[in-house]
Amino acid sequence: MWQATENELESIAIGAGILGTGGGGNPYIGQLRARQAIRQWGSVDVLAPDELPEDARVVCVGGIGAPTVGIEKVRDLQSYHALRAIEDYTGENATALISNEIGGSNSVEPLIAAAMAGLPVVDADGMGRAFPEFQMKTFFVYGVPCCPMAVSDEKGNSVVIRETIDPRWAERLARSVTIQMGCVACYAVAPMSTEQVRRTAVPLTLSLARDLGDAVKTARHHGDDPLEAILSICPGKVLFSGKVVDLERRTTAGFARGSLTIDGLDAYAGERMVIEFQNENLVARRDGVVVCVVPDLICAVATDLGEPVTTELMRYGLRVTILGFPAPALWTSAQGLAVAGPQAFGYDVDYVTLAV
């Protein structure tokens, strides 16, 4: 067990940015909200899945909506309201919370609700990275029901989606409700058992985010190479390094799709990498050959400082290094790939695990 205090939040934000694989949005507001919650209600205990009591009831909470709206109508305590709503509906009290997504600002959402509710948070999440849609969670891939789930706004409205025929329907209905609620809602899914968390969650990812952020900060402080520091914490490899020479972006059906072209520098001079993204980076090709593909993680960081670069902030001339990390094993099974493999995103590419 460890404690998430105000001090850990900056590191978690950097680490969650790296694990966000280009998506996850601007981390500033999330970090500030978590800081306020911890200042107001105290720090939060973080338990490894192994440390959970056998009879724990674990509720997954997360934000749903539009990041561009979230910088204006900044989120409040919606995740706490959703937690209370699902507790009421199921008649069960949560004994811990868990993150739905470690990549980006969703990583801190459970810390906010947990600080207020006085509950611990599990050191694990449902993605081990970032994905754009609700149904793309390891919990649901391995049979945890996604319903009932509650969606709450800041006004006191809560909607419980009692049952859907599959998690895609839950995403579709929750998103419609969210738009009516003003596009910055939170959801909470009916409690999971300890056994379900241990079997279906990607373990130890909150501490991974914290350690990645710590390593980057320490490397910067000592003038060491932040990329080496990142790779020393999380097994992976440098896929490419160069400068951004082209960026093609289009917003279709609410998602930012496009491709990013990087010309190699130094050891990669004369080569080119093209990355396809849909909010997150999904397929990386080096001189036309696929070298890393979703669900493996394709992370762009600024070559000099190790700062994660989201697709929104990409622009011509940026010096970036592309890191690849093998996906958590939960994603590389047949069931995992059916939900979050390359074909699930419409790419005619076979998944091959990144060799590290």
Binding site: T68, D76, E154, K155, C183, G254, G317
Partner: protein, 517 residues
């Protein structure tokens, strides 16, 4: 004729211009009394004014208000009234402010019912009685200025306007600023900017009247304009209402001046100083904006600075021959004592440039025996670092024109990679003052539109009309106003087609005829 003055951290520069011709330039050290420095510089200029000529306008880019915030002095006790409940309570106004600045302004914050959703619906009705209570409390606390911020006021500013009307009714002596007048989405940043603006209001009135009075005392009867951080001007009345817009106008003025001097509208400006080199991109004669928010005195705002890359390399940068190391140390303004060609004992980039025959300054004999291969390596390394910086700020891989300005530009050759051609305009040492003098009057508006019942063209037309109206109220001649920039970004994850539109309009000063700068 026009007078342009730009107050920098080190120097106050001023120029006298007759149409496109630079008549005279002055450079004086910036004094603690900024207004006195402006007037001293103007007095020197006026001595060069031809007998039959008159001054038509005075344009000033100043650091008065930046200094006031940094030194936390003369700030009015200020309240923030946010129209938001029940939303956004976890992050109250002033949430991420440095404690000292917050205290200097009193730290009074109020949140009441009101505000809008992204699609223009009300979050809740405006809570008028709560606003009246808040105003009564402000009066008790001795508050003198109020910033009113409403959630999604860039979509719908009605609640802010109505709340401001209540404040004026209840307390006519309170100065009120509404955030949607500087509307960019980003509640905290916009609210912060409105709050800084409210706190600076009293001081702004005093300072601007002071400058006007001093100009008059010099015998000049001409209107005063102030530089805004987006490279345009506002008249004295408008500036008294929006002093926060003057903050960080200096870097923008420098790039605008360089654009004008070199004739480059789209390209790169490389400003080589004594200690560092700033490289930025010009788009349509204006600097490209950085994507990240600007911090003013530790407060995040919704303003944007020019997107520049700064590298520690200038004319005074120290060169260590073996093993070769260039910078980051610099002798800075002491170059003319410390540099070898000036009889000093520090080897600088300027000495190497002289040894390499790039320029003749100081005494070239003092570096005559320098190892030719060292000279070659240093010159190549300098060139390489600047070329890398140019490449980082370029907008595409095509070669573009490059303007080299600043005293250290002699370090660089004309064969820069990435440059279609290299220009070294004269008088680039006062580019910032020229940037102030040549500016047009501008207005910029950003709003969010739901495209449910409205086409994109309609949204852009509405935003353009608002930007034009704003340029007029800032003092532009309505007949000359044109829209120079339209930026449209669809909001992601919102299937209902909401879009953010930003429009910038500029026009000439009344009575002056010239084309877009």
């Amino acid at each position: 004729m026009l007078v342009g003055v730009d107050v920098g951290g080190t120097n106050t520069d001023a120029v006298l211009m007759d149409g496109p011709a630079l008549i005279h330039a002055v450079k004086l050290p910036t004094t603690p009394d900024v207004t006195a420095g402006i007037i001293d510089a103007m007095r020197e200029l006026l001595a060069e004014l031809p007998a039959d000529a008159r001054i038509d306008a005075v344009m000033v880019g100043t650091t008065h208000f930046t200094n006031a915030l940094l030194e936390r002095r003369e700030l009015a006790p200020t309240a923030v009234l946010r129209l938001c409940l029940p939303a956004t309570q976890l992050l109250p106004p002033l949430v991420d402010w440095p404690g000292e600045l917050r205290e200097a302004m009193g730290g009074f914050t109020y949140m009441v019912g009101g505000g809008h959703e992204f699609d223009g619906r009300e979050i809740s009705p405006l809570d008028r009685s709560e606003i009246r209570w808040a105003v009564a409390d402000m009066r008790r606390q001795g508050v003198r200025a109020v910033a009113v911020s409403g959630v999604f006021s860039p979509v719908n500013g009605e609640h802010e306007s109505a709340a401001a009307a209540i404040v004026r009714e209840e307390a006519p002596d309170l100065r009120v600023c509404v955030s949607h007048e500087n509307g960019r989405t980003g509640l905290l940043e916009r609210e912060n900017a409105a709050t800084l603006n409210a706190a600076l209001g009293e001081l702004a009135g005093r300072i601007i009247r002071g400058i006007e009075g001093a100009i008059e005392a010099l015998g000049v009867e001409a209107p005063l304009y102030l530089s805004q951080n987006d490279g345009t001007l506002m008249d004295a009345d408008f500036a008294s209402r929006f002093p926060v817009l003057t903050i960080s106008s200096g870097p923008t003025n420098s790039m605008r001046g360089a654009a004008w001097l070199s004739g480059i509208r789209d390209g790169i400006v490389v400003d080589v100083g004594g200690t560092s080199t700033d490289v930025g991109a010009l788009v349509n004669g204006f600097p490209r904006e950085a994507a990240v928010a600007v911090e003013m005195a530790g407060v995040r705002t919704n303003f944007r600075m020019p997107d520049t890359v700064s590298i520690p390399l200038g004319g005074g940068t120290v060169v260590v021959p073996d093993p070769l190391r260039i910078g980051p140390e610099s002798v800075g303004y002491r170059l003319t004592e410390a540099g070898r060609v000036f009889g000093g004992d520090t080897l600088t980039t300027t000495d190497v440039a002289v040894a390499g025959g790039r320029v003749q300054i100081g005494n070239p004999q003092l570096v005559a025996g320098m190892d030719a291969s060292l000279v070659h390596r240093v010159i190549a390394e300098i060139q390489d670092r600047v070329e890398t910086a140019i490449d980082r700020v370029k907008l595409s891989r095509d070669d573009v024109p490059v303007a080299l300005v600043g005293g250290g530009n002699i370090l660089l050759g004309d064969d820069l990679a990435g440059a279609s051609h290299v220009l070294r305009p004269e008088n680039s040492g006062v580019a910032n003052a020229i940037g102030a003098a040549i500016a047009q009057v501008g207005g910029q508006v950003e709003r969010v539109y739901s495209l449910e019942g409205m086409g994109r063209e309609q949204a852009v037309a509405d935003c353009s009309a608002a930007a034009i109206a704003r340029a007029v109220s800032a003092g532009a001649d309505p007949a000359t106003i044109e829209v120079v920039e339209i930026d449209e970004v669809p909001l992601t994850y919102v299937p209902s087609n909401a879009t953010r539109v930003r429009v910038k309009a500029v026009g000439n000063l009344p009575g002056l005829h010239r084309s877009a700068g």
